[in-house]
């Protein structure tokens, strides 16, 4: 759209984005409460890169992805896609921008209509956009079907005839039929067998290379993220814990949560015994999250100040930011008040 965009500008830029959902009041006089799904997230995604978002379920990573592609209006902050504020665009311009952004979903079972044939599923975006003849549509669908590794004879079959991996291939074909520039992959392999992971990931990488796509890759598996992403963001309860170039983050992870996630990945190395950090408790509810650092209740290194003082994201090196009091430290007054004294982790209710 923008002619005067320089190539170094990010494709997508989020500035202090928050998404809070109101909770239905149980009585007319009770306090209004919000699910703070995403709070104060800022990021820049460069053209052609793969940007990883890592976190457990309920950390807000899918809400963040939805905010990126115009599906959920943020309650605060701005989303700029190719230089335009996505949520300030006129309807027609918004639709044009949305065409450039597509999504691949986690569950290949519920994301495909069981009553649609493969042809109907893949062509649907094109059909809705319109302006294409039936013959052109058919040849386009066939071309994509081959690209994702399915056969022409699969065209008239239904999703129930396919395995999880094959369904995911259909979902990928559908996502790229409008030639988008930006693709959000929301846990594209976590519903699949480990042996099929590699096939789908390789396919996604090939498509990215041949079509020069920009990916947002959502996952809870850091081993996968390390292999595919150039930058990444570690989220916990709606906030960014650690972010940066994936080389820098993996070379020296600093946030205890990142370390715990890394050590929770079960390695298939049966000889080396690693020191594993096993977090206590569950993820707390995003309704009324902890006031200070959101992770403090489960943090093995929590200090007294972590409970009340929020940790800000600080730059620790070029392209590596961390939000943790262990890294940023407390001010001298806070230390005098005993804020740096360790506390035992609280059981999460």
């Amino acid at each position: 759209m923008r002619i005067n965009r320089s190539p170094s500008d990010p494709l997508l830029e989020l500035d202090r984005v928050s998404v809070h959902f109101p909770v239905k009041r149980t009585t007319p006089f009770s306090k209004r409460r919000f699910i703070q799904a995403v709070t104060d997230v800022g990021l820049r995604i460069a053209e052609g890169e793969t940007f990883g978002i890592v976190g457990e379920s309920g950390c807000g990573k899918s809400t963040l992805a939805n905010a990126m592609i115009g599906m959920v209006r943020p309650t605060a902050g701005s989303v700029r896609f190719q230089g335009d504020d996505l949520y300030a665009l006129k309807r027609s311009a918004f639709k044009a921008a949305r065409r450039n952004m597509q999504m691949i979903f986690q569950d290949p079972f519920s994301s495909l209509n069981p009553r649609f044939s493969v042809y109907d599923i893949i062509r649907e975006p094109l059909y809705i956009r319109g302006g294409v003849s039936d013959a052109a549509m058919r040849s386009k669908v066939l071309e994509l079907l081959k690209l994702v590794g399915l056969d022409e004879e699969d065209l008239n079959r239904y999703p129930s005839d396919f395995s999880g991996g094959q369904r995911q291939r259909i979902g990928i074909a559908r996502a790229i039929i409008l030639n988008p520039t930006f693709l959000v992959c929301d846990e594209p392999v976590s519903g699949l067998d480990v042996s099929v992971h590699a096939q789908i990931l390789n396919l996604l990488m090939d498509i990215q290379k041949s079509r020069n796509l920009t990916y947002v890759f959502i996952s809870h598996n850091l081993a996968v993220v390390k292999n595919v992403c150039q930058s990444l963001l570690v989220m916990y309860l709606g906030k960014v814990m650690e972010a940066g170039q994936s080389d820098a983050v993996f070379a020296a992870p600093l946030h205890p949560y990142t370390k715990a996630l890394l050590s929770a990945i079960l390695d298939i190395d049966v000889h080396g015994t690693r020191d594993r950090i096993i977090l206590k408790g569950d993820i707390p509810s995003p309704i009324d999250p902890p006031a200070g650092c959101r992770f403090w209740q489960r943090c093995p290194f929590a200090m007294r100040g972590c409970e009340t003082i929020p940790a800000d994201l600080v730059d620790v090196e070029e392209g590596h930011r961390v939000a943790c009091h262990l890294v940023s430290g407390f001010s001298s007054e806070q230390i005098a008040a005993g804020m740096d004294q360790p506390v035992s982790p609280q059981p999460v209710r």
């Binding site: 929770a264 096993i278 569950d282």
Partner: protein
């Protein structure tokens, strides 16, 4: 008296369907020693869950047709037992942990009551005694505030807690055998680590044998002693954990191991096994794996290889196992 807890010989299960007979399990032997954790690994559709259900005798026949030569639990022959007699064994001598805790638990009954039931039925305890045991069982698996949590309904608990309840339920009577069918697949990574830890320590401390069923080799690496690799209804390789991971003999095992993404190396392309598992109605001729195998030769296309025992106790079903290369020079 041997120390074999579970012995299954030549288990076959088939499902008649409109398109033909689906042979889900084609002659499987499984042996579990006391205190051992045996893993059954394979992709979805390979027949591992059907095997688990058959071991528990939970498979409904009909529609399934099953045959088994030997089925012993702690020396006791299970093949001829009636449903009634099996009910007395299930939950007491062997128990199963299912993948999806939300569907495995009764949604309209508190979790405490569901565990009480096991004690009252199998140990004939009174309500009060049963609840006492329930609370201590919940404590054992790391449920905080076990006394009040026992009065919660399944939907009030998180996924990790529900899975712990299932573990407590399975271990309630300290059975001889625990079957864990994908016990951590639906959980988050940090919760998965917690639950696996609980399962492992329960199994080790109480010297219970376990049959772990999973598609995830990294789970296997953290729990199992012996591994059976299953492909399309047949065992293709059996070995001790360390040997299997150090030197897979079957090309399929090698492919499975290589496809696990690792933190230690950075490579752009992931190692993959081509294609997918054959459809159970259209299994290929010869070795079922040959269409996906990079070493397949003429014999592989014509005949199914036998599960050969090697001198070190390993077993592999392959005409051309990967180890040969090293041994031929001598």
């Amino acid at each position: 008296m041997t120390d074999t807890v579970l012995e299954v010989r030549n288990l076959k299960v088939a499902f008649p369907s409109a398109g033909g007979v689906i042979r889900a399990v084609e002659g499987i032997d499984l042996v579990t020693e006391k205190g051992e954790c045996v893993a059954l690994v394979g992709e979805s559709g390979c027949g591992k869950s059907v095997t688990a259900l058959s071991v528990m005798k939970l498979l409904r026949t009909p529609p399934a047709v099953s045959r088994i030569d030997t089925h012993r639990l702690d020396g006791r022959d299970l093949t001829r037992l009636t449903d009634r007699e099996m009910e007395r064994i299930r939950g007491k001598d062997m128990a199963i942990i299912f993948q999806d805790a939300m569907t495995a638990l009764n949604p309209v009954m508190t979790v405490g009551k569901q565990i009480d039931e096991v004690y009252r039925r199998h140990l004939r305890l009174t309500k009060k005694e049963a609840r006492k045991r329930t609370v201590s069982a919940l404590k054992l698996v790391g449920v905080p505030e076990a006394r009040s949590r026992a009065n919660s309904y399944p939907h009030e608990l998180s996924g990790g807690m529900r899975q712990r309840v299932l573990i407590a339920l399975a271990f309630a009577c300290m059975p001889k055998l625990i079957i864990a069918d994908e016990p951590t697949t639906s959980l988050d990574v940090t919760i998965q680590a917690q639950v696996l830890d609980v399962l492992k320590s329960m199994q080790r401390e109480h010297d219970v044998s376990a049959l772990l069923i999973t598609h995830d080799l990294s789970v296997v690496a953290n729990m199992a002693n012996t591994v059976y690799v299953m492909y399309s209804g047949k065992i293709v390789e059996r070995a001790a954990l360390k040997e299997l991971f150090a030197e897979p003999l079957h090309p399929y095992t090698q492919g499975l191991l290589a496809s696990v993404p690792r933190l230690s190396d950075r490579k752009q392309a992931f190692v993959q096994i081509p294609d997918t598992v054959p459809h159970p109605l259209h299994k290929p001729s010869g070795c079922y794996f040959h269409p996906r195998c990079f070493r397949a030769g003429d014999p592989c296309r014509q005949r199914m290889p036998r599960l050969n025992g090697l001198e070190d106790g390993r077993q592999v079903r392959c005409f051309d196992p990967l180890r040969q290369e090293r041994e031929t020079p001598s």
